[in-house]
Every structure is written in C-alpha cells, then in structure tokens.
Amino acid sequence: MERNSHRQLANMKKSLFDQGYLDQEQFTQLEELQDEANPNFVEEVVTLYYRDSARLIQNIEQALAEKNPLDFTKLDNYMHQFKGSSCSIGAKKLKNECTQFREYCRTGNGEG
C-alpha cells in the first residue's frame, strides 16, 4: 500500500519535472533540507508559498481590475514578489510566466 503511494508520488513529481512545471534541481534541494528532525519542511514551505501566492494573486487581480490606467509599476512589484518565491520553490513554469508578465509591464503592454 505504502509502496504504491510512494510510486504514485514519484510519478507525479517526474511528470511535473518533465512538463517543466517544477524545477527538478531546486525542488530536490528543498527535499534535501528535510530530515527526521524536520519531517514536514517541504510541506510547510509549499503551504506558505500557496498562502503567499493566493494573497499576491488577489492583489494582482485587483490591480488588473483598476483598468484606467493600469498601474504597471504596482503590477511589476507584485510580479517580482511572485517570481521570487516561485524561484525558491522551483515553480519553474510560474517563474517564467512571471518574467513574461513583467516584460509586458515594462513595455506597458496592457493587452498582454
């Protein structure tokens, strides 16, 4: 039973790595920080990340709603924060999306 869930987990991780959602190197680094004394480290960090991200996303949505005009500086700042924590977690795809988003902010591309 346990072996099954382990295998499932391994498969899930692999597919996330393969699809470029998760950065294998960075995520592995995080896993290495976990040990018997701190068995829930990865879970704790990821939970923090989700909470942080939810807050950021809310802020971003709000900023996007204030359309006229779009406050690119504010959006850029939020994105910077989002990108930063995504990096630490190894959320590669997200990080790349953030970078793209910031490019749009920089060029004042509201449509993007």
């Binding site: 680094q29 920080l33 960090v45 990340y49 942080d52 910077h80 930063g84 924590s85 630490s88």
Partner: protein, 192 residues
C-alpha cells in the same frame, strides 16, 4: 588548521537574515540551521536595524545580547532595500565589521558592483543553496581564525575598554562549559 575550521570553534555563527518574503525566510532559516548556525530572521531592514540596536531607540527592544556574526539580506525589499541597509550598517562604527551578504533573484551587474563597492561581503543570486551557505560560513569562520592569529593583543584591549561596544557584545554566551572557558573568552577576541 587550514580547511577544518569547524572543529576549532566551539560555538556557532549567529546569522541575521533579512527578507520580506515569508517563503524565502523559511528556506534561508533552514539552510542556516542545517549548516549549524543560529538564525534570527526578520522581515525588513528597519527590523534588522532595531535588532542590531541601531535605530535610534534604546537597543533593549529585540536585542537579546547575542552577537551577530553575519547578516544576509535580500536586495529588493519595500521600505528599505538591502543596499540601503548595507550602507547603514557600514556607516556604523559598532556594526561595520559584521560581514553583509546581499541576495537577489536578479543578476544585475550594476547592482552587484554597487553592493560590493559599498562593502558587501558577497552578492548571492537566488535561490540560495546549501553549498552557498556552507561556503559563506566557512569564510566567516576562517576570518575569525585569521583575526585571532593576528590581533590577539589589540583585541584584548578593545574588549576590556568600557566604552567599547564590543564590551557590550561580550555578554557571555550562556554556555554550559566551565568558568575557565569564560575567563578565556574575556582575554581572547570573543569568537561568536
């Protein structure tokens, strides 16, 4: 001696980590703990200055007498950037000796140069990993080793001067070891 510093120094480095990101604070805290460092993590430059006793108010708030041996700060923070924090620390006679490392997810050369020019020990690109932290720790420890060899007498005088801030910093660490070592720590430059 040489490479194996950790066996010589009994105590641990105390690192002050400054980062507005909760996720990053958690990660750096873990990295430091795994590297056998004591960690105090704060969320802003202002908090950091408060902790270090440099914000103009009495140093009693948040200052628990534990000397800080290394400061690791994020560059981009609201309010006071890591660079501004660095400048404040380097312009303080009490604190300028503390090595400051800047961390940033953006590798901007002009930024890196500016920080190094202002006296940063190093500029690390995020995400910071375990080997970065261990390398830093070894460098700082080695620095203490070198000081010991060179500055024995000089340090002794500074340590005992009543007006010196070092005297305050010397608040003995609550170690379990015998008074003999406590005596020793008065004579030698306090390790950590």
């Amino acid at each position: 001696m040489g490479s194996d510093c950790s066996s010589v120094v009994a105590e641990e480095l105390h690192v002050l980590a400054v980062d507005d990101s909760l996720v990053d604070r958690k990660v750096i805290e873990r990295l430091l703990k795994i590297s056998s460092c004591k960690v105090t993590a704060v969320e802003s430059g202002r908090r950091a200055l408060q902790y270090l006793g440099l914000d103009g108010e009495k140093s009693s708030v948040g200052f628990d007498g534990l000397k800080v041996n290394l400061i690791m700060t994020d560059y981009s923070m609201p309010g006071m950037t890591g660079y501004e924090l660095l400048k404040k620390i380097k312009s303080s006679s009490n604190l300028r000796e503390i090595p400051v490392v800047i961390m940033s997810s953006e590798k901007v050369l002009a930024r890196i140069d500016r920080c190094l020019e202002e006296g940063a020990q190093e500029f690390l690109v995020k995400p910071v990993n375990l080997s970065d932290v261990k390398r830093l720790r070894d460098i700082i420890l080695q620095g203490y080793e070198n000081d010991e060899d060179k500055g024995y007498q000089k340090r002794k005088l500074q340590d005992l001067s009543p007006t010196s801030s070092l005297a305050r910093d010397l608040t003995p660490l609550k170690s379990a070891s015998a008074s003999a070592s406590a005596q020793q720590s008065c004579l030698k430059r306090p390790r950590l």
